[in-house]
């Protein structure tokens, strides 16, 4: 599974790093930072989907 974060679209709602702490972190201003390089590690697929489906800005996409 591939995951991408559109940093231009991110407004720092923080849903992703709360729901998917293995995949996302917060920077010092509260914006999201992707912790993996695009490939979702095995076992973290549900975290990835949760992050994507809860972002109010549609800033996260996952592709199987």
């Amino acid at each position: 599974m591939r995951i991408t974060l559109d940093s231009e679209a991110c407004q720092g709602h923080g849903r992703c790093y709360t729901l998917a702490p293995d995949l996302f972190d917060s920077d010092d201003e509260g914006y999201a930072v992707l912790k993996v390089d695009g490939e979702v590690p095995a076992g973290m697929e549900e975290q990835a989907r949760l992050a994507a489906d809860n972002c109010p800005e549609f800033a996260i996409t996952v592709e199987d």
């Binding site: 407004q11 720092g12 709602h13 923080g14 790093y17 509260g30 489906d53």
Partner: protein, 418 residues
Amino acid sequence: MTDTARPPVDDWATDFDHTTSEYAQNAPEIWADLRSRCPVAHSERFGGTWLPVRHEDVVAVARDTEHFSSEGVIVNDYKPVDLAPIGYAPPITSDPPFHQAARRLLLPAFAPKEIDRWEETARATCRELLDELLADGRDVVDAAVEYTQHIPVRVIADMLGVPREDGDKFRTFIHRIIEAPGSAEQEQIAYEDTLDHYLTQVVEARRAAPREEPQDLVDHLLAADLDGQPLSDDHITGTIGLLIIAGIDTTWSAIGASLWHLAQHPDDRRRLVEDPDVMVFAIEELLRAYAPVTMARIVAEDTEIGGCPVNARDWVLLPFPAANLDPEVFEDPHEVVIDRQRNRHLAFGVGIHRCIGSNLARMELRVGLEEWLRRIPDFELAVDDPEQVRWSAGQVRGPRELPVRILATVPHSTTEVR
């Protein structure tokens, strides 16, 4: 209240008035009705106001900072003149490009790691309030007046470095500005009793006794610079005012509405007590279902909303709670599903003006509910009809009185610190 000054609403699609008690009590039903009849309602009141209720239209307006200005965010009879792009309360009233610079000054103080530092203070505050609430052994208490309203007041006072006792003043300012905008009541007020005077005093006192290292948000703003220049006094007082106005009854309303819900749903209460891991989803679902905040915009140039033409200088209300109840986006939107996993709600807005205090608000909501449930795991509404609970009118929605009957308590001494 404003109801007495304005004629009753005949048709919500063509003559709505969001400041009436009818709107306060029945907003979700009104939004559902409007969604089925005309997704963008209009009213001649307040000099021309529009009300989109679909998720899609609310998002489109919030994102379009070119056609919709933030220089006015609370609808009333008077529109701001010539304040853009800074506005009277930066950054919420600021437009690009100034907006981003003003927002970046505040973002680090409200980032998750900074907000984590306030959690123990918030928890101690909740415990003190619960100790007081339970001290005299009453079975009926007012959860809004005696509990929820004090939590954000004390936390924001601590963050600003002003006395907690000033909280009573904050509540008065907020009522006037949000619940009774532009009403006759306002014209009688002495300047010494206004928010503007209060803020000026805070800044003057701090300037008279400056500190070497910033210790709170007021120090931080006094020490900050934009493009090498110190912030203007109007910018500083506007931002402090914003943090007081936006940080208090919004959060108080969210905690109160959540307790209003839990008082009526024993299964949800039990689930949260027995399975604390549900809290992370429950908070978002309660925020979705009872989102307190509606923002506003002023149309900057003639445009359209969802195919409906709107004129420059009209008001547009952005009812985030209505967007959160849109069946196009949420399955069974009128049902509170305490562990809802897919929840793209807009309780904190959307786009560049996303609520800067969202991490703080979430922490206060979580801690407020956790501490209440730890001491009072079982409770119910102490009125026969949930409709008897009075909800605030205007752009922040939440129960203003919340009589609950306590059915079970846990003594303080046995509560564990997490």
